[in-house]
């Protein structure tokens, strides 16, 4: 069951990298960055998953012996990572807007004043 998660995560990361390498539209590059992020988040959450575990929340009276949680730390990591990913995407999109204003294009092949 977890294998599907890992395959999905890696697929997302690879698709993200593919978008960043092969797509010349800078918005698509940003989308690629986002995809990589999601893949990563999925990977981390999957790492912390325990088959049959419950949510790592203490609720009164429900604790029975033999019951176990999924690992809460990766979830905390994922939360942080999602927030960071959202910030990065926002920043990148803001830069895209400014670049479009200046260069009149979103084609990365034409946004290369700095080279050599």
């Amino acid at each position: 069951m977890m294998l599907a998660n890992y395959i999905g995560a890696i697929a997302l990361i690879v698709i993200g990298f593919y978008a960043m390498i092969a797509k010349h539209d800078i918005i698509k590059i940003v989308v690629g960055m986002g995809l990589t992020d999601y893949g990563l988040n999925l990977m981390i959450v999957s790492i912390g998953f325990n088959e049959g575990g419950t949510a790592p929340i203490f609720t009164f009276g429900e604790l029975v012996s033999g019951m176990y949680f999924v690992d809460p730390v990766p979830q905390a990591l994922t939360l942080t990572s999602i927030v960071i990913g959202a910030c990065v995407t926002a920043m990148a999109l803001a830069l895209c807007v400014r670049i479009y204003n200046e260069y009149g294009t979103v084609d990365s092949r034409e946004i290369r004043r700095l080279h050599g």
């Binding site: 990298f17 390498i21 092969a22 010349h24 960071i84 990065v88 920043m91 895209c96 670049i99 080279h115």
Partner: protein
């Protein structure tokens, strides 16, 4: 605990910067208040870290602080730790020094910019993030701080609204930097999957000794992640773009400080977490990457036409030195690498600040549009020369000493292992050093010397507020060059010792005896050996000074008899022009070193052409590098 008071210093040093960042936003439009807050914040954190020198460097204590007093429970460190050993403090010190100098420089420097309000917010965020990385004892916290730092750095790169290249540079930086962040986070997650802890000390106790495919993958990813942050070889083009586009005072941070966190991360990963430096494959990987970075970037720098872009390529070239030296895994190698790290921060900071002064005075850093500024900006020229001599390793300055150690370390390694490869590394280091000198001659000639461009006649030295931080950095360059023994005894050797011996670090965090219980061998994994260090005979220095003094005396004698020399712009004092009337005919930067460029034209053309400036290409380089490093690690580390 004997050092109860000191315990709180590191966390306060980090928090001051972050709190300062928010306060700066709160005070709004009041320039003076903003400056006061920023200045106070950087000074407080500098002072706090300086106070730690005594306990950490001299007495060998390790400062441990658990956030919220959440100490390890049953041998599992779940709380967030701040742990300062000599290595952390070493990097913390060089960071805070550069941050403080650059902040005071910025007060004047950004006066002409339009978005001044947010500058110090981002600036202090960046500083706080950087300091957080090196002082933190928690792998995920390092990642978060890495992101905070990257984010602030991207914001600052795009800061100059009037600079048309700034957004482009920032975008590339963000995209390619995200590869590094991805790798670092994935590596962190994999490490967590193996160890169920994120505490550096505990990981380094549990992890080594069982290099299974997951740990190798984690190692490769973390290495690439931090390598990306240090802008090592295939990640370097973004650094060049970002350094060039950012305001100079920020370039100081990106080049001198930001890259050092990458170096710090690589040390922590290679020497601590995985204790993998004993493997010759890892040593070779670091050395090869270092050499390629060093040589490729210095040749790129020779080709540049922009002062700051040239400096940017040199940053990576110097990072190459540091990585090479660290990859040797000998006492001398680490000492040389760390010494070069602090020297690089000092002289590169100085050089970026002089570049900023040139920009401030003339409005351009394009080499072809400058020339002859030495007459108009003598103080900046003197500072530039200090920086240029330091980076090229001219003897009395600091670069010489660290390069000397690096040459000795590489050649000693060659002799020790009997492998001629390391001897060739020494050769690459020396050739790079010469090319560095050449490119700074290029800058010196095309910016400060040669003929004064007519339209630069109004240029003048920057105001005192900008000069003082530059003099401080320049003074430190000279100091670290003249008194290497002080540096070695109090700063470098404790830090080197900390690199080699992880046991105290682990025991301080996890309780006495933890390392002994978990590590296969608790002995330091190489005994540091400084035999070849030799060092300058202080007497020789004294003597050198006497001779120099005598020469200066001679010089002044010669000068006095010609004090009445007329420097009038008549035809007698005009430049000899084959009899023609002197005209403006400056030999500009692009024309220099024709013989070299012509002979190497194929190589230079190839390298220059490879830096296409297209984001996708750079991402491709980065991803390829990641893949290659992973493949290499799987092939040779298992």
């Amino acid at each position: 605990m004997t050092y109860d008071v000191y315990m709180h210093f590191p966390v306060i040093a980090i928090m001051t910067l972050f709190v300062g960042a928010f306060l700066v936003t709160l005070v709004g439009k009041r320039q003076a208040a903003r400056n006061a807050i920023a200045g106070a914040a950087v000074l407080v954190s500098l002072t706090l870290l300086a106070l730690l020198i005594k306990p950490v460097m001299v007495d060998g204590e390790i400062i441990m602080y658990w956030m919220g007093n959440w100490e390890p429970v049953e041998g599992y460190a779940i709380g967030i730790a701040i742990e300062v050993d000599a290595l952390s403090l070493f990097f913390g010190l060089l960071i805070t020094i550069a941050v403080a100098c650059s902040a005071f420089y910025s007060f004047q420097y950004i006066k002409q910019d339009d978005a001044r309000g947010s500058f110090f917010t981002l600036y202090l965020m960046l500083s706080g993030g950087v300091l957080g990385i090196v002082l933190s004892g928690d792998l995920f916290n390092i990642y978060v701080m890495l992101e905070v730092m990257t984010f602030a750095a991207v914001g600052l790169t795009a800061f100059r609204t009037w600079n048309p290249n700034a957004r482009e540079a920032a975008f590339k930086y963000l995209v390619v930097g995200s590869i590094g962040s991805t790798c670092a986070l994935l590596g962190t997650a994999l490490v967590y999957a193996q160890c169920h802890t994120l505490n550096l000390a505990q990981i380094s106790a549990i992890l080594p000794g069982e290099l299974n495919p997951t740990t190798v993958l984690a190692f490769a990813l973390l290495f690439t992640g931090f390598g990306c942050k240090s802008f090592m070889f295939p990640f370097h083009p973004i650094a060049a773009d970002a350094h060039g586009a950012a305001p100079s005072s920020v370039s100081v941070l990106i080049s001198g400080v930001f890259t050092k966190t990458g170096v710090y991360g690589i040390i922590r990963v290679c020497y601590f977490l995985f204790r993998s430096m004993g493997l010759s494959s890892v040593q070779i990987m670091l050395v090869v990457i270092g050499c390629i970075s060093m040589f490729v970037c210095v040749t790129m720098a020779l080709n540049q036409h922009d002062f700051k872009r040239l400096l940017a390529f040199h940053s990576i070239s110097q990072i190459g030195y540091i990585l090479t030296s660290l990859g040797l895994c000998t006492g001398l190698g680490i000492a040389g690498g760390l010494y070069h790290a602090i020297n690089h921060t000092l002289f590169k900071g100085l050089l970026f600040l002089t570049a900023g002064s040139v920009l401030y005075a003339t409005g351009t850093t394009y080499l072809e549009n400058l020339g002859g500024l030495a007459k108009k900006m003598p103080k900046t020229t003197a500072l530039f020369l200090i920086g240029a001599f330091s980076i090229s390793g001219i003897p009395p300055f600091n670069g010489f000493y660290s390069k000397w150690i690096i040459y000795q370390a590489t050649f000693e390694k060659a002799a020790e292992t009997g492998s001629i490869g390391y001897a060739l590394v020494t050769v690459v280091c020396v050739v790079t050093s010469v090319l560095t000198l050449a490119s700074f001659i290029k800058v010196g000639h095309s910016v400060f010397f040669g003929q004064l461009r007519p339209e630069l006649a109004e240029a003048k030295d920057p105001p005192l507020g900008m000069r003082i931080p530059m003099w401080i950095l320049g003074g430190l360059c000279v100091f670290t060059g003249l008194f290497p023994n002080v540096m070695l005894d109090y700063i470098i050797i404790p830090a080197t010792g900390a690199v080699f011996n992880a046991v105290p670090y682990i025991d301080t965090a996890m309780g006495e005896g933890y390392a002994a219980a978990h590590l296969a061998s608790t002995s330091p994994f190489v005994t540091p050996n400084y035999t070849l260090l030799g060092g300058w005979d202080p007497l020789a220095w004294l003597v050198l000074f006497v001779v120099v003094l005598a020469a200066v005396f001679l010089c002044s004698l010669a000068g006095r008899s010609n004090r009445d020399v007329n420097c009038a712009p008549d035809s007698k004092h005009a430049v000899f022009f084959g009899g023609e009337e002197a005209q403006y005919s400056h030999i500009s930067g692009g024309d220099l070193f024709w013989g070299f460029k012509h002979t190497m034209r194929r190589y230079l053309g190839f390298v220059s052409g490879a830096h296409t400036g297209v984001t996708n290409d750079y991402v491709l380089w980065g991803v390829t590098a990641t893949a290659v490093i992973i493949a290499y690690c799987f092939a040779f580390m298992l």
